[in-house]
């Protein structure tokens, strides 16, 4: 789980990039709380070969990366 709520771009992408690089997970859950982060993290996930599912949460969005 990467909790990137409260961070401005590019921090959310960097946090997710680090998690992907270090652990190469098959699935990864990410929490973000703004549109910019949602779009950028989604594009990053897709560029790494993940399928990205986005759902709304109380204070933002949950993104789930799966391979």
């Amino acid at each position: 789980m990467v909790d990137a709520r409260g961070y401005l771009c590019p921090m959310p992408v960097l946090m997710v990039q680090k998690a992907v690089k270090e652990n190469a997970p098959q699935t990864l859950e990410i929490l973000v709380d703004d549109e910019c982060a949602k779009g950028n993290v989604t594009r990053f996930g897709e560029s790494q070969g993940y399928k990205v599912e986005v759902s709304d949460t109380d204070d933002g969005y949950k993104l789930v990366f799966t391979k």
Binding site: R5, G6, Y7, L8, P10, M11, D33, R43, F44
Partner: protein, 368 residues
């Protein structure tokens, strides 16, 4: 991540056209739209500094904030948040302004000056890219100013409210505001036109996330050129506009409100690039984020305005090249104090970069 985002390009073109139009309507040449210069003028208008030539309550700044605020409200992107190292951001805002005024322009004006043929700005771009590159090194080393938290509606509305208050002041109590009678501050487009244009630019910048620093930063970090196309679109639009209006002048010398002291142009923009990466965006982006309800960006903007006051109260800002009474060309640049301030700002940004990154944690692990 390399796709072209049409909205970013359209925003860049609109900013370019806005700059040309505002210049034709009275704003200083090569300064149709400069966030740092206009915040400095506002600082002067509010008597925070007394440099008589740069005092005017520029409606463009309030327009950008309110344009971003209105569109964010409409599209439900107005989300009040704050608490990400606000004091550090205030200091960085001041540092960005001192660097920008050493060069005589923010990243947006650098791009506008490049579009006008100003070779000093083309050289300063190298310093800017170097600064952004250094900033990205610290981002990769774990630099962050910690997260922001959900804030109250009142907190998120501070910058839009301040913008409205300044406009009210401008219209209802102009006698309370200082206005230059000569120099760049005396040159301005009609208030209503400038405000309307800025509202459109603010709205577009909010939707497109247009950011001069973000363009170079994302290209370096991720090979993502999306925002950089906005940067390029502004330059191309302004070159075309200046060629049409006859204002394109490819030279280092006799450029409007600019100096040809190369080292200090480069170092000034290096500071702006570096510190803006740490802040998460250029001065334009900070205004837009403040309009979206980001209290940390509002604090950054206030830091920039105070930085402008410092720059002029202590004669730290760059002096434009000029022609003296004998008709000799005099190269401007920085005072001794200005040069010292630039060096001090570099040291401050370095310290902030180091203490907020994971450099020491790694050393501890190695030692352990």
């Amino acid at each position: 991540m390399k796709k072209v985002n049409p909205l970013v390009v359209i925003s860049g073109v609109v900013v370019g056209i806005a700059s040309i139009v505002l210049t034709l309507l009275g704003n200083p040449k090569n300064m149709g739209f400069c966030i740092a210069c206009f915040e400095r003028d506002i600082a002067g208008a509010l008597s925070l500094h007394s440099a008589a030539k740069v005092q005017y309550l520029r409606p463009e700044i309030m327009g950008i904030v309110l344009g971003a605020f209105i569109i964010a409200l409409i599209t439900k992107e107005f989300k009040p948040k704050a608490g990400s190292s606000p004091a550090t951001r205030f200091v960085l805002g001041g540092v960005v302004m001192i660097g920008a005024l050493a060069f005589l322009g923010c990243p947006l004006r650098m791009v506008i000056r490049i579009g006008g043929g100003d070779i000093n700005a083309m050289i300063a771009l190298l310093g800017f890219i170097l600064g952004v590159f250094i900033g990205t090194i610290f981002l990769k080393k774990g630099f962050n100013l910690k997260r922001a938290y959900k804030a109250t509606l009142v907190e998120g509305s501070v910058m839009p409210a301040v913008s409205v208050a300044l406009l009210v002041l401008a219209f209802l109590a102009p006698v309370a505001i200082k206005m230059s009678v000569e120099g760049p501050g005396s040159m301005h487009a009609p208030v209503i036109v400038a405000l309307l244009i800025a509202l459109v630019v603010g709205a577009l910048a909010q939707k497109s996330r247009l950011c001069m620093v973000g363009g170079v930063r994302d290209a370096i970090l991720f090979g993502d050129f999306k925002l950089l196309y906005g940067f390029v679109a502004i330059i191309v639009t302004i070159i075309i506009g200046n060629l049409i209006t006859g204002d394109f002048n490819l030279s280092m010398y006799s450029q409007p409100v600019a100096h040809s002291s190369t080292l200090w142009n480069v170092l000034g923009m290096m500071i702006v690039g570096w510190a803006s990466v740490l802040l998460g965006g250029c001065p334009l982006r900070q205004l837009v984020l403040a309009g979206e309800g980001n209290g940390d960006s509002a604090v950054t903007v206030f830091g920039m305005i105070i930085g402008a006051a410092f720059a002029h109260n202590f004669s730290l800002a760059g002096n434009p090249d000029s022609v003296n009474e004998l008709g000799e060309y005099v190269v401007g640049g920085l005072s001794q104090g200005g040069k010292i301030a630039v060096i001090v700002c570099i040291v401050i940004v370095l310290i902030i970069s180091v203490v907020n990154s994971n450099l020491f944690k790694k050393e501890e692990k190695k030692n352990g």
